[in-house]
Amino acid sequence: MSGSLTAPLKSLSVQEEDFDVGAELKALTAGRTEVGAVCNFVGLVRDISGPDADHVSAMTLEHYPGMTEKQLSALIDKACERWPLSGCRIIHRYGRLLPGDQIVMVITTSRHREAAFESCHYLMDWLKTRAPFWKLEEDDQGQGNWVDAREEDDLARARWDKAAPSDKTQS
């Protein structure tokens, strides 16, 4: 149920290359003067990991080509049904990344800030538990360790099962 006069711009890229957040923000808002709010999240590779704060020298992101695109496209559609968005864009990288490198970007645009904030947060929480990516971290000895899923991520996603205040649809 979109409150926008024109259809929301939906866009997804699953890629090895880095991305330019500034350029992505401009592309999603150019000429859309109904947009009053832009929310953006970027996930970066951290140099430490896990409960023991082990040092990470690199990370390789494996993914399931095809399923990734299918799951993330469905997620973008869900967000656009639940909130009145003008635009929604996800970029997720795969391959070998170094600390400080960008992994993922979500941008949502809307007339008002609540829809932009909530949908961006929703997309990140869902993406964390539904997009088929797996992180292999390398320590200083070049030893690879598969990152374990975090229970907090399941809890964070489950929060959205309740209808949001701005959710107009009835289940």
Binding site: Y64, M67, K128, F133, W134, D148, A149
Partner: protein, 84 residues
């Protein structure tokens, strides 16, 4: 039926894919398939040892253990996802 493996499921089994001629005999559900695969050698039995650490997709959608399989399905086995 195509079966794909990812992350440590892939590295423990030692390959990324198995191509089967339809469903194995007696296999109707996801749980049946995991039982059957466990008997296919050391890598398989080790990878599927802790069944609660395995997630399954059928035709690129998440599936529960009781989901029914069809001959031409693309099935994938992998650990809980850790993207984002």
């Amino acid at each position: 039926m195509k079966i794909l493996y990812f992350a440590w499921v892939r590295s423990t089994i030692g390959k990324g894919m198995d191509q089967l001629d339809g469903k194995p005999e007696g296999v109707q559900t996801v749980a049946d398939l995991l039982d059957w695969l466990s008997g296919q050698g050391e890598g398989y039995s080790k990878a599927l040892e802790k069944r609660d650490r395995i997630r399954v997709a059928i035709n690129q959608d998440f599936a529960e253990p009781d989901a029914t399989l069809n001959d031409g399905d693309e099935v994938a086995l992998f650990p809980p996802v850790t993207g984002g």
